[in-house]
Amino acid sequence: MNKLQELFKNKKSDILSIYFTAGYPKLETTGEIIKGLEKSGVDFIEVGMPFSDPMADGPTIQDSSEKALANGMNLDIYFEQLKSIKQDVYLPLIAMGYVNQMMRYGDDKFLQACVDGGISGLILPDLSLKVYEEEYKTKFEKYGLVNVFLVTPQTSEERIREIDAISNSFIYLVSSASTTGSKSDINQVQVDYFKRVKNMNLKNPLVIGFGISNNETFSQACDYASGAIIGSAFVKSVSEKNDFETISKFISIIRS
């Protein structure tokens, strides 16, 4: 069982995950941010692999990705940075990026580098269920990596069941039809959708993301799911100031 699966086995509620873009605000800040998040009581971390054309991301993550690439971030450095702190990090890490990055790096080389860097799972938004099943499932399993699928308000019940059947850590419940960082409140339509999926009694726990930005939206999300993921709001906070104090303050406000 990998770290991510273990986490969900042992913790059923109020799980907090943070996304940040590796190499932003500075090339060297990846390790500091991971350690800062770990100390601040986050449950797992999504380490963004900056991509030139992040089609599922809104302006904040696009901007951080562009800057990270301008800072010189690339996958060699990314995996090197993760490897160098692997001994000090016990939290599950997820690598988040786009399929083209994995494909160009070479599938096996990429997956091996994930393992070597202490990555437990992957979120590649443009890796569709079908392509995963046909081309990647066996490979991911060979390396002991889990793939996390997204479910949106438009995903049919039948398809949610298919996604549940093939998932083996958690399902990423996208809070609304949007790119990342778009919305700020949770409305009744979203609540109905959360309830609808929750009542399906899936085998995988649900974690809500996209549009979770503060303690209010986090705690609302936790009413219907095992936890929530915060991305853009955190990326914005590190862009202003980047030290342990800022990180732990951000997390404690979310948890309050």
């Binding site: 089609m55 599922a56 690339n74 039809a177």
Partner: protein
């Protein structure tokens, strides 16, 4: 080996739909319905009527005598430049707007580079009274001001893409993001044979009217449906896909694709994807694209905004990989020279994109008995500023 899309949306190794779950229902809706709608009598009737009376089809197949004298063989120009709005782009937008209507969509989004697809989309939206939002790179908005004005006059909203290189690739990303944010009422009217399946096939089918007419016109003029060579420029590749479509399985017809090599394929300022590209995923499709060792998509360059795209459609990647197509390239300078040459020999000012196709006439072997069709995809009005600058008028 076939050259049509397979049931999984692939052309050989290329194509497919590499899309976020957020786009799955939108793309699925299109995939489930497009063939049935396109093949329906009602659609065919409406589409053909619009092509005839609104676009002005069939476009002439013109025997370019003086051009033929210069290069040998019998050279015909397929005059897509004479279409309403000035290029082949409108063949596709007329078809897709009818499809969007039949799917009950109220809001149309599109991406544009040079502005030709944006204008063609804004035009059909005005015709059908549909809301139209066109994403265009901030840099392209500056360098294609007349087309921006045309879109606005037609009632479209032009939204600048300010991310990345601020050109066509980024405008496409923004259009995709808009579609993610508006999954139910919005139709994404894509402008080339790119994007996730079924777009490459959909757009190729709508541009196929070009080669459908060529067969009839060649038969009339030469007694044979098939030419020896068809030459077309390739950015994303929609005019080429249309010009090749009904000849794909006729292996005796040589299909010549011309990419823009910008300042030269080795200069780093080029858009010649098949020369320097590698397999990868761009805008939801597996194809050849320009990227670095880590899968970051790199910036293309060409004097012609319509060829300034870092990928090619998956059909073209397949034609390249299978050697069914011959891929050549032309530099900025060669295209400019060819544009001037056509103007002086035939009295036709071509679009810079189409001038790239003409530029290979001097590079290929032509027999006296050869019948050659050059797809003249657009007219040069939109490029007058560049021509004035480069040619010193």
């Amino acid at each position: 080996m076939g050259y049509s899309v397979d049931k999984n949306g692939f052309y050989g190794d290329f194509g497919g739909a590499f899309i976020p779950e957020l786009l799955f229902p939108n793309v699925k809706e299109l995939e489930d319905n497009y063939i049935q709608i396109l093949e329906s009598d009602e659609f065919q009737r409406e589409y053909k009527n619009l092509l005839k009376d609104y676009v002005g089809r069939p476009s002439p197949l013109y025997l370019a005598k003086r051009l033929s004298e210069k290069y040998g063989g019998t050279i015909y120009l397929k005059r897509e430049d004479l279409n309403h709005t000035g290029a082949h782009k409108v063949n596709n937008t007329v078809g897709q707007i009818l499809l969007a209507q039949k799917l009950g969509k109220k809001r149309i989004i599109a991406e544009t580079g040079a502005g030709q697809h944006g204008v063609a989309t804004a035009t059909v939206c005005a015709l059908m009274d549909l809301e139209c939002i066109v994403y265009m790179g901030e840099i392209d908005i500056e360098r294609q001001a007349p087309n921006v004005a045309r879109m606005k006059m037609l009632g479209a909203e032009v939204r600048p893409a300010t991310s990345g290189s601020k050109t066509l690739k980024d405008a496409t990303n923004e259009a995709i993001r808009d579609w993610i944010n508006n999954p139910e009422d919005t139709y994404y009217l894509i402008g080339s044979v790119v994007g996730p399946h079924p777009y490459p096939d959909l757009v190729a089918r709508l541009q196929a009217v070009i080669s459908e007419e060529m067969k009839i016109q060649l038969k009339e003029k030469t007694g044979k449906e098939n030419p020896d060579k068809i030459i077309a420029c390739v950015g994303g590749g929609s005019n080429a896909a249309g010009a090749y479509y009904h000849y794909l399985d006729d292996e005796d017809v040589e299909l010549i694709a011309v990419e823009a090599s910008g300042k030269g394929v080795d200069t780093g300022e080029t858009a010649a994807t098949t020369t320097i590209g590698t397999p990868g995923i761009i805008h939801g499709s597996k194809t050849l694209l320009m990227q670095d060792d880590f899968g970051q998509i790199t910036e293309p360059y060409s004097i012609s905004a319509g060829l300034d795209y870092p990928g090619i459609g998956p059909l073209h990647a397949h034609l390249f990989a299978s050697h069914r197509g011959v891929f050549l390239s032309a530099t900025d300078k060669e295209a400019l020279d060819s544009a001037l040459e056509l103007t002086r020999l035939e009295g036709i000012i071509p679009a810079l994109e189409s001038a790239h196709a003409l530029a290979v006439l001097s590079k290929i072997e032509i027999k006296d008995t050869d019948t050659i069709v050059v797809n003249l995809s657009g007219r040069g009005d939109k490029d007058m500023e560049t021509y004035q600058r480069e040619l010193g008028y």
